[in-house]
């Protein structure tokens, strides 16, 4: 198993500062080739933290890229994302992140 942590500081782009509607959201299942994503409100000075526990080692750079892309798209503020991963592809990771965050924001998106 590999444990990874990523911190994305607060964005200065105020036009995307949408308050989250729910306390937390969970999507996905930890089955082979899949992952679960837990999105929670957190006090992070406006930033976003992502914690990943994955069964496939050595893909830190890919996680960084996928997560950076997610953060760029949604500019999540004060959000903690926690992931248990069983070898999902970057495309599946991206999909789950989007699903989770869209639901987290609800109609306010």
């Amino acid at each position: 198993m590999e444990h990874l942590e990523f911190d994305f500081p607060a964005s200065t782009d105020s036009s995307r500062q949408t308050p989250a509607r729910r306390d937390s959201v969970l999507v996905g299942v930890v089955s082979s080739g899949n992952l679960e994503v837990l999105v929670e409100q957190a006090s992070l000075a406006g930033g976003c933290r992502v914690i990943v526990d994955t069964s496939i080692r050595g893909y830190g750079a890919i996680w960084q890229a996928v997560l950076a892309d997610f953060v760029k798209r949604y500019r999540p503020r004060d959000v903690l994302v926690s992931i248990n991963d069983a070898g999902a592809s970057p495309a599946v990771v991206s999909l789950r992140l989007d699903q989770a965050y869209e639901d987290f924001q609800g109609d306010a998106a």
Binding site: S24, V25, E36, S55, N84, A86, Q99
Partner: protein, 304 residues
């Protein structure tokens, strides 16, 4: 606490995750989870095997309402380690059953999807299943109804198949399977002549929902449709099955008769034929409504 998929709830029970099933079965927004994923009560044993954990250890438990009546609910997530029972997973289920003894809800729903004891937790898993059995039978003794729902991809095997049969009633779909030892295990130990686990038609004739329903081991057979499961679950909670001598002696008699009538049958088709089903080969082709009608016409079918 919610899931991203509530807005896209599908009708198929088989395709749905444990969380989706709960959301669609219970009255809208009535579900309140106990020890949810945010609490991160995960398995302490899996790190030994470099295997990922799941925030809810593969089982979702809580309370809600079904047609306005208060129920407790458990849904095993087959996708996580085959729904297998580990220390935490099992304790969540036992907790719900013990709480039901105190709170006395209208009923308890067990959405079972499991391969049985989680091998990665061996002895701890075995005791966990036993604790579930004890707590469940205490509910039967107290007259609080528990219904088992079976219809997921992983089926209901191992010790959890014993748990299923200690409930008041089992609701199963034709995609559901229930058995003690999986066909692969039997094939590995006793050879392919004993059980060819790749012969899917054989597997379904032996442990599939239709077979179990015809034998009287499930009280309701439903299509793979969550609303159908919901209606059947609601009705199942009204079925009394007191843990008393009269009922157990009646069950005993039925089980003895089963061995007399069908004990030398080589295959389910032979059983169905002896039940009085003229074209037993057609059973596989009937849909669930036709099969239910057929079953009701059989003089000897008794639900255990």
């Amino acid at each position: 606490m919610t899931t991203a998929d509530i807005s896209t709830v599908r009708r198929s029970y088989y395709e749905a995750t444990g969380r989706q099933r709960i959301a669609a079965l219970l009255d809208r927004d009535s579900f309140h989870e106990w020890i949810g994923p945010r609490e991160r009560v995960t398995s302490p044993h899996l790190k030994l095997f470099d295997v990922p954990v799941s925030f809810d250890d593969g089982v979702i438990v809580g309370r809600g309402t079904l047609d306005g009546k208060r129920v407790f609910i458990v849904a095993q997530e087959g996708g996580f380690m085959g729904g297998s029972v580990g220390e935490v997973h099992g304790a969540k289920i036992t907790g719900v059953l013990r709480r039901a003894l105190i709170d006395r809800p209208h009923g308890v729903l067990l959405l079972l999807e499991s391969g049985g004891v989680r091998l990665h937790e061996a002895n701890a898993g075995l005791i966990a299943v036993s604790e579930i059995l004890h707590a469940l039978l205490a509910l039967r003794a107290a007259g609080i109804p528990v219904a088992a729902l079976i219809g997921g991809a992983y089926g209901c095997f191992g010790g959890m198949s014993i748990v299923a049969h200690c409930c008041n009633a089992i609701v199963i779909s034709e995609l559901g399977r229930i058995g003690l030892s999986g066909p692969e295990v039997i094939e590995t130990v006793a050879g392919v002549e004993e059980f060819d686990s790749r012969d899917l038609a054989l597997v379904w004739r032996t442990v599939g929902g239709k077979s179990r329903y015809l034998l009287g081991d499930a009280s309701r057979l439903v299509p793979d449709d969550i609303p159908a499961f919901r209606a059947a679950a609601s009705a199942a909670l009204l079925l009394s099955r007191a843990l008393d001598l009269e009922n157990l002696e009646r069950d005993h008699e039925c089980l003895a008769v089963r061995l007399n009538f069908y004990g030398d049958c080589k295959d389910a088709e032979e059983i169905w034929s002896r039940m009085g089903i003229i074209s037993s080969r057609q059973v596989a082709l009937l849909d669930e409504a036709e099969l239910v009608e057929l079953a009701q016409s059989l003089p000897n079918r008794k639900v255990i």
